[in-house]
Amino acid sequence: MRRVGTAVVVLTALALVVAGAAASSRATPAARSASPTKISIWVGWSARELAVFKSVVDEWDKKNPNVTVDLVGSTNDDKLVAAIRGGNAPDVASSFNSYNVGTFCSSGAFIDLGPYLRKDHLSVSMFPAAPQYYTKYKGIQCALPVLADDYGLYYNKTLFKQAGITRPPRTISELTADAKKLTVRDSKGAIKVAGFDPFVGFYENTPERWITSFGGKWTDASGKSNLAGDPAWSKWLTWQKGLIDWYGYDKLVRFQAGLADEFSASNAFEAGKLAMNFDGEWRVAFIQAEHPNMSYGTAPMPVDDAHPELYGSGYINGTIIGIPKNARHKAEAWALVKYLTTNDHALAELSNGLRNVPTTKSSLTSKEIKPDAHFATFLKIFGNPKSSTSPITAIGAAYTNLVQAFVVKWQAGHVSNLQSGLANLDKQIEAQLAQAGKGNVP
């Protein structure tokens, strides 16, 4: 028994030593090496999109003969954090969205790029407000934006013409009327073509992307979660459920279940099964590649009838890029990050290939951007001063997941009192923030 006790003590001591050994790192601009260097970069893109990204990285590679770049695609935040912990982090890492910037910055997983920006006399004011916001947390600029995503309305011009609709809807009531007009059912009432699908969880429909159309805010003036206090939330949810109930919840679920994968060539909008769809700017490139002859248009998302001034704005998020704390070649990594995030030529090339929004203010009007009427809509949304993003917190995407879980119940008709449900949601978000952020129970 004593031996077991000794073993436990030894193991505990070992655990404490290992746990305490994690040293914090502070970013100080490092000088570039004179000898040949190999750096690695991890990105989320895959297949066609990865090839586009590679062509831009190759351009930089050619200009920097001393450096060889090893590009790895299809990564995500889980893999990245595991690699940082395991000491195998890449020199440059990117994430498809900014949800975890709060964790990356506050934990030191990504180094502070502030000193590097200052050394090279660069200012983040070269980016619009939203990307500036979602790449830093509590004053630490641990990431930079490289291409952004914003969201708008795609509409099928052929189906619009058949229904006698002449222009895309601009308000929620117009959207509702058009959606009903464009919906086609079979003799048993099953949906054949849906005018518009507002179901949260379907394709790109998430609460954070939707609430901008109603001008909703996440927090009150003191920074506390305020979904119950801001009437925009209940207004959006009441409208959303109203439209779902018009279709019939069961019928809509059955219809959705029969639709193809969002990122396949049979995407429901591309296949003509959705007359209008809420989607990101990248869909322009997908349609170009998969259905070049499709007759469609793009427009900003319709907005709450009471807030016509919001029309033209939208939700913005985007790919972020940074340097992990245990990157081996930080100076070379910074040179590549700087090129990808601040060089208008690189951004234009990426934007042309991926049809993502370029992220510097100057690149938005770059002559190198290939003109495309469909894509121009998203450039305008990105530049709109009322466009916004969701809060960066210490709990990453946990709060949006809580809201989404609630909305999924709500739209199924399993929330009896919306207002008290939202108030309880506020309580949960605050509790989770307190628990994960500080480790204390409120």
Partner: protein, 337 residues
């Protein structure tokens, strides 16, 4: 899969008494050498156990008292994670309910189904090999692939099951898309894959001495009575083993729920995106391990996930203890009084 724990119980009964301690130095040295050799031979297992079980267990217990985001150093916060777990987190109890649903409904069904298959296969006269292969084959399917297959089969709109039901004039359920049907759908998937359990039962059923059946038959016992009074008591140690393993697996139920929720939700994600909507629909597939994973690896809240893991360990241990201690009443080890 080994039946060692069950077999070991019979072996221990026959173990010789420990010899008296020998005070002679030569013998003592020999005894130490023997122990050294035993330790040396055991070392691969010992090292594996310490590195892969002991250390993670101790570390997990330590981290459960810390705030730990996986990257910066853990910060001691005492019982805060446990207080949050028991008094604040509203997702815990639905996750506990879902997990117990699987243990109380899916696990007994799995055991009964596997046992029923084994009894039928043991009686088969022709095509024994073919039948055994057919019923065992699903166990070889990787869980992710099997789940994808079932989500396809049970697609409410285009899945073959609902299409077939439609031809019969029945509107099939929403399966993985409905909170009422998602767990039954996962149960169907688990029943389809009971091959391993079935093989264990089959081996045990075939081991039951023929003469027991013959004497029972001579005493006038019918098929049901032979099953009830001969087969089941004879294989009761194996039933205990299978039940304990199935309950522990039920407590750790993860892969199928994770895959089914993501695919059924219909929100495709690009390779670089982290999937959202675990527990879809309406949290009905948010099992305890899924929630644990979400906190640990998606919200980078590993301290809290460790506290959840500790609770899971205690509950798994307690349930196993209850089953094993109750088993004395219904498990019969042949040759042991």
């Amino acid at each position: 899969m080994s039946l060692a724990p069950v077999a070991g119980a019979t072996a221990s009964a026959a173990a010789p008494a420990t010899p008296a301690y020998d005070r002679r130095p030569g013998k003592r040295r020999a005894a130490w050498r023997r122990r050294g050799l035993v330790l040396l031979l055991m070392s691969p297992w010992l090292v594996g156990f310490i590195v892969f079980v002991g250390y993670p267990l101790v570390m997990s217990a330590y981290l459960s008292f810390n705030h730990y985001d996986l990257v910066s150093s853990p910060r001691w916060i005492g019982f805060a994670n446990y207080r949050y777990l028991f008094t604040v987190d509203q997702q815990i109890w639905p996750a506990v309910y879902n997990t117990f649903w699987m243990i109380l409904i899916a696990v007994p069904l799995q055991v009964l189904f596997a046992f029923g298959l084994a009894v039928m296969l043991a009686r088969a006269r022709r095509g024994v090999g073919a039948f055994r292969t057919v019923f065992y084959l699903p166990a070889l399917a990787p869980p992710v692939a099997a789940t994808l297959g079932f989500v396809y089969l049970l697609n409410p709109a285009t899945g073959p099951v609902n299409v077939l039901l439609g031809h019969l004039g029945i509107q099939g359920p929403l399966w993985f898309q409905s909170p009422e049907w998602s767990k039954p759908s996962l149960t169907l998937l688990s029943l389809w894959g009971v091959g391993t359990m079935m093989i264990i039962f089959l081996a045990a059923v075939l081991e039951v001495p023929r003469q027991l059946y013959e004497s029972a038959a001579l005493d006038g016992a019918g098929p049901w009575q032979r099953l009830r009074w001969v087969t089941i008591p004879s294989i009761s140690p194996v039933i205990l083993f299978v039940v304990v393993i199935a309950v522990i697996q039920g407590l750790q139920y993860f892969t199928q729920a994770y895959v089914a929720a993501n695919i059924a939700q219909g929100q495709a994600s690009q390779a670089g995106d982290t999937p959202v909507g675990l527990g879809y629909p309406e949290g009905s597939t948010l099992f305890y391990p899924v929630l644990l994973y979400e906190h640990g690896f998606r919200y980078f809240n590993m301290g809290y996930a460790s506290a959840m893991a500790m609770l899971l360990l205690v509950v798994a241990f307690a349930i196993t203890l209850v089953i094993v201690s109750n088993s004395k009443r219904w498990v019969h080890y042949s040759g042991v009084r």
